[in-house]
């Protein structure tokens, strides 16, 4: 087996009394898209910034492409590309000049025209950066990250603030990066983004890794189908259906046997003459897994071990 692109064991990072990252293990294989999911403040960005070499870790073992990022070696930075959350480019240069400037910092830059082709900014190549739309600026950020033809690209929340159309384009871009053979470490708080793009997903909450696996394995490990419906005010479903308020005025049944649960529900509703407004049956999504694992008030005992999906990874 070839050495993984990213290898992390027992990573910890404290800021004073706060432990932002409290012991994380990660393995990212070469050529895959790996998504790091988690709510704000979960430790995603801190983890990524340690890997990028911006922060020193408090404890743990970190190897990225065989380097220790904390040493800040030029040889390491020549092999990675970083796309931060904020757009850091000179507004008065053109798109082409910006990519050429950053490319020039690397020993083997990718030709500017090719980079612009990949991110879809060929037509804007002579446009000054300040005149680009928000989505175009974000694509330029990715272009700058690609300028040095890195083996590994860090993408920190690449689609935050995008409209749906721009997000689809960004996803297409990430798929193209994988087709080029790049390893991509993506952070996001959009579940659908991870489900669409990632080969593996890790969910972080409170500085710890809650679960790691393929999106399919995470979903399969949470086999409950959600049945939701609305009842007239004052009507309660019978106890044995196991329905609970979903917080939004509807009722929700979570069941591993949806046929049986649905049958019991509809039989009861028919007998009562209830219409069952807004009846919906949902197969679980990554979002359900995520909410179950990270949501406030959820059972903290729900861990990777209890889901048994760790083996699915690697």
């Amino acid at each position: 087996m070839t050495e993984p692109a990213i290898h992390v064991r027992g990573l910890r990072k404290r800021y004073g009394d706060v432990e932002a990252v409290a012991g994380i293990d990660l393995d990212v294989a070469r050529g895959e898209v790996f998504a790091l999911l988690g709510p704000n403040g979960a430790g995603k960005t801190t983890t990524v910034e340690v890997l990028e070499g911006y922060r020193e870790r408090s404890a743990g073992e970190v190897r990225v492409l065989g380097h220790d990022p904390a040493r800040g070696e030029r040889a390491y930075r020549e092999r990675i590309g970083i796309v931060l959350q904020s757009t850091g480019v000179e507004p008065y240069l053109t798109v082409e000049e910006t990519v050429a400037m950053f490319g020039g910092y690397y020993p083997r830059p990718r030709p500017v025209a090719e980079v612009l082709e990949v991110v879809g900014l060929v037509e804007q190549r002579r446009t000054r950066v300040r005149r680009l739309s928000g989505g175009q600026q974000r694509r330029l950020d990715v272009a700058v990250g690609l300028a040095g033809d890195p083996e590994l690209l860090f993408l920190d929340e690449p689609t935050t603030g995008f409209d749906p159309g721009a997000r689809r384009q960004a996803w297409e871009l990430v798929r193209r990066l994988r087709a080029l053979g790049k390893t991509v470490l993506l952070t996001t708080h959009y579940m659908d983004e991870a489900q669409q793009l990632a080969d593996h997903v890790a969910i972080i909450a409170r500085g710890r890794l809650v679960v790691v696996g393929t999106p399919e394995a995470l979903i399969a490990a949470n086999p409950e189908t959600a049945i939701t419906f609305v009842l007239p005010a004052g009507v309660m479903p019978p106890f044995e259906l196991g329905a609970a308020h979903d917080g939004g005025g509807a009722w929700r049944i979570a069941s591993v046997e949806p046929a049986r649960a649905l049958h019991a529900l509809t039989a009861w509703a028919l007998a009562q003459g209830l219409p069952l407004d807004a009846l919906d049956v949902c197969r679980p999504s990554l979002e359900d897994v995520y909410l179950q694992l990270t949501g406030a008030g959820c059972d903290e005992g729900a861990s990777a071990a209890s889901l048994g999906v760790e083996d699915a990874h690697g």
Partner: protein, 258 residues
């Protein structure tokens, strides 16, 4: 590419972005030239007492004064503002994540503002010679060049230092101007020395602007008999520069401030 070549390449991009940015080009570059014209129109022919105690035309004072202002404006103001904007826009952090060595990046920025400063000085000096009949005597030319070199280096260092106390990019013009404008007024740049009360001159002497102005005044003084070096003044300017380096090294941050 060697790191030196990278630094020179960086100068080209800095330069291109600078001249395309109307605010930067205006306040850093055009401003001193406007002051040169205005001061000479208003006071150019007035008889005033210059630093050496002799009486001369106002232009003999204002040409070197605007040269000093050019150094402060391009090296100090220009650098502090553009670094604050680059830091808070995330450009510094992003650059740090690339293989470009930090010193090559900052050398590029320093060289760029130095070129702007030299261009300004040449324009002011040539205008002084052609339009206002103010020459740098050949004998004191080395003194003028050394003053520019020491002043440029010191005010670049102070630009880095002040950037570290600028809370965010929007506040940069306010913070930088709050420091620079009063100093320009009390430091024999905007107003000739014989108008100021002694205590104000004592205050001005604590800071580097007046010393740079005095060093340049002497180098431009047509009555100067010696080689024109103001060693004490240059030493004060250099000391401020070293303090600026020390302060910047301790406090400089690549990360945006929020």
């Amino acid at each position: 590419m060697s790191a030196l070549a990278l630094a020179l390449r960086q100068v080209r991009y800095e330069n291109r972005a600078f001249w395309r940015n109307p605010a930067a080009a205006f306040f850093t570059f055009v401003f001193p030239l406007i002051f040169l014209v205005i001061f000479n129109l208003m006071f150019g022919t007035e008889e005033i007492t210059i630093a050496g105690g002799q009486t001369a035309s106002g232009s003999v004072f204002y040409v070197p004064a605007v040269v000093a202002m050019s150094v402060v404006n391009s090296c100090f103001t220009g650098l502090a503002m553009s670094l604050s904007v680059a830091r808070d826009g995330g450009l510094l952090k992003r650059t740090r994540g690339t293989p470009l060595p930090a010193w090559a990046y900052f050398a590029g920025r320093v060289l760029h503002v130095t070129l702007v400063m030299l261009l300004l000085v040449v324009i002011v000096t040539v205008a002084g010679a052609l339009a206002y009949d103010v020459d740098v005597p050949g004998r004191t030319l080395p003194a003028a060049l050394v003053a520019l070199l020491v002043g440029g280096a010191a005010f670049c260092a102070l630009g880095f230092a002040v950037c570290t106390i600028v809370p965010n990019a929007e506040a940069a013009p306010a913070v930088v101007n709050a420091i620079v404008l009063p100093l320009l007024f009390i430091s024999d740049v905007f107003i000739p020395p014989d108008n100021a009360p002694a205590w104000l001159t004592d205050v001005a002497n604590l800071f580097p602007v007046r010393h740079l102005s005095v060093a340049l005044q002497t180098a431009f003084n047509p009555f100067e008999q010696g080689n024109g070096f103001e060693w004490l003044a240059l030493a004060v300017v250099a000391a401020w520069g070293l303090a600026g380096v020390a302060f910047a090294l301790r406090r400089f941050s690549w990360e945006p401030r929020r």
